[in-house]
């Protein structure tokens, strides 16, 4: 299976096909971006689901001549849809702060209505509409973005083809193909400082190299904020791996009140240099 058929996919599949009883096979494959083999695999699962005292949940018949599928749905199929709070919460959050969706919300009556309904359930403070970016991401055209990498203070230009907008623990993320390197990369939306500027004047420096960092922990409660799979605590020290020096530096500075880097020396020195320089600056204002 090239595509991961998981519970979420199955749930979405059922939501999608219930719209009508007769489908062109190609229509399903195109819309759900799956192969015929994968479709058969899913149909095999859904046709073995039994509900309400052993009624078949979804029955189907494939017409090879017309390349169509006829479905027979149990009433439960139409009632199955359930949307969990966390998903609605994330959508509400995105519609409130993400410029791309703000535009979508304002120009689409249904989305505005959807947002207004959710606003009765979620009482949230501290969300501000993002700054007015006149351009938005297009998923059809290759564009350039100006991006300030974590741990850096200068931006770099990337030629990208956007793939998806994601929301995860790091925040809002643009997943895109870096056209020059032909690799898929993720960009934190809040660090994209320019979109669609055609000139490519600044050289791109690749500084990617795995880095293991050891920290002294000042506040053990900080560990509760980390994903368990990303760290180890050995002899009371926190150990983490970063994919670049810049990422490690960014993380170390953002959490400086809870943890202090002990190794590698290069990172410890960089943090000390930054603090010493700041102290010098502050001394001018006594």
């Amino acid at each position: 299976m090239s595509k991961k058929i998981d519970f979420n996919f199955l749930h979405n599949f059922l939501q999608f096909i219930q719209a009508k009883n007769k489908w062109k096979i190609s229509e399903i494959l195109d819309n759900l971006d799956i192969s015929f083999k994968e479709l058969i695999y899913i149909l095999d699962i859904v046709s073995q689901i039994y509900v309400d005292f052993d009624d078949v949940f979804v029955d189907y018949e494939i017409n090879k001549d017309t390349e169509e599928i006829n479905f027979l749905f149990n009433d439960s199929v139409y009632e199955l849809l359930s949307i969990n709070d966390s998903e609605l919460f994330n959508l509400y959050y995105l519609l409130t702060i993400e410029a791309n969706f703000l535009t979508l919300k304002e120009s689409n009556k249904e989305i505005m209505e959807f947002y207004n309904i959710l606003s009765k359930y979620f009482i949230i403070d501290g969300l501000f509409a993002s700054d007015d970016k006149s351009e938005s991401f297009s998923f059809e055209e290759i564009k350039t973005i100006e991006y300030i990498k974590l741990g850096k203070t200068e931006s770099q230009i990337y030629f990208v083809k956007p793939i998806a907008l994601k929301l995860n623990q790091d925040g809002k993320i643009l997943e895109a193909l870096d056209v020059e390197e032909n690799s898929i990369k993720t960009f934190l939306i809040e660090r994209i400082v320019g979109i669609n500027k055609e000139e490519n004047t600044k050289p791109k420096i690749s500084t990617r190299s795995a880095l293991k960092v050891k920290y002294k922990i000042h506040d053990t409660n900080f560990l509760k904020t980390l994903d368990n799979s990303t760290f180890k605590v050995i002899n009371d020290n926190l150990e983490m791996k970063f994919y670049s020096f810049e990422n490690a530096l960014d993380f170390s500075l953002k959490n400086i009140q809870y943890i202090n880097a002990i190794t590698p020396l290069k990172l410890v020195d960089e943090i000390k240099i930054r603090q010493s320089n700041l102290l010098e600056i502050l001394n001018e204002f006594n």
Binding site: S76, D85, E113, I256, I271, L279
Partner: protein
């Protein structure tokens, strides 16, 4: 895997009516469970429950000793949607279609199980005005939840504890329990300020910094920004000393401070 996916859909379908379901009914209703002995059924059910939990569907055992209801399992985690379905003023089909349309455009990576559960329970508690009990940094708290606040990449619960408004970081909340009684209080705090935001601003700073760099890092600290005609000249007021400290370390070498009131507050944080 096929059988697991099948059972998950059957379980969701079983709980669609939002009623309590006994263990025996669950065993009888799911064909794969029927022929299992008690121990094997328990194991399979626990595994399926745990998997559903990871997708935001919370099957929980409910045994309220004060209520006349029978004990049994209920499915939580969809408080908002279940309420929307019951509301006659809302066009549920249109709501669902919009949801599907939005889902096609974005990929919502799942939060971890703990956060999914907490958000769901807090949403329910706020809407039904129920008390919340939880362990917070080794202390048990009982609060009246008022709302959520997002700050510097983290979510906070705004709640009243012993008549005082307080904020609690969601990451530190453990063993969250929902009170049995609804409509216990009113929600009045629309503005979930942190306690240190209420005091007068301690630090004021005038700084020359590239606007791009400021925009990228500004959310690291809570502050007020005065209007300025010059794009790169920022006049900032804040009480968030650690936040400002981190902001200046992150923007190292790219700014020039012109004025700094109460610089000693930041100097106290420097460890060299």
């Amino acid at each position: 895997m096929k059988n697991v996916l099948k059972r998950l859909i059957e379980l969701i379908n079983l709980f669609k009516d939002d009623t309590k379901i006994s263990t025996n009914k669950i065993k009888d209703s799911i064909p794969d469970y029927r022929d299992l002995n008690e121990q094997a059924f328990r194991r399979a059910f626990e595994r399926d429950k745990s998997l559903l939990r990871s997708f935001g569907y919370l099957i929980e055992y409910s045994n309220d000793k004060w209520s006349h209801d029978e004990s049994g399992y209920t499915m939580g985690g969809s408080y908002v949607f279940n309420n929307i379905k019951k509301n006659e003023d809302i066009n549920v089909n249109s709501f669902v279609n919009t949801y599907l349309l939005l889902k096609n455009n974005i990929s919502l990576q799942r939060d971890n199980d703990k956060k999914t559960e907490i958000i769901s329970n807090i949403t329910k508690a706020i809407n039904e005005k129920r008390r919340l009990g939880f362990e917070y940094l080794s202390k048990y708290r009982k609060v009246k939840p008022q709302g959520l606040r997002f700050f510097n990449g983290s979510w906070y619960l705004g709640a009243i504890e012993s008549k005082k408004f307080k904020t609690f970081k969601l990451d530190y909340i453990e063993n969250l329990k929902l009170g049995n009684k609804a409509n216990l209080f009113t929600t009045e705090y629309k503005n979930m300020s942190f306690s240190w935001e209420d005091s007068d601003d301690l630090i004021s700073i005038e700084i020359n910094i590239p606007d791009n760099l400021y925009q990228v890092n500004k959310n690291i600290f809570s502050h007020k920004l005065a209007r300025s005609d010059k794009k790169d000249l920022k006049s900032i007021k804040t009480n968030d000393t650690y936040g400002l400290f981190k902001f200046l370390l992150l923007c190292h070498g790219s700014y020039k401070i012109i004025k700094f009131h109460n610089a000693h507050l930041l100097k106290d944080l420097i460890d060299v």
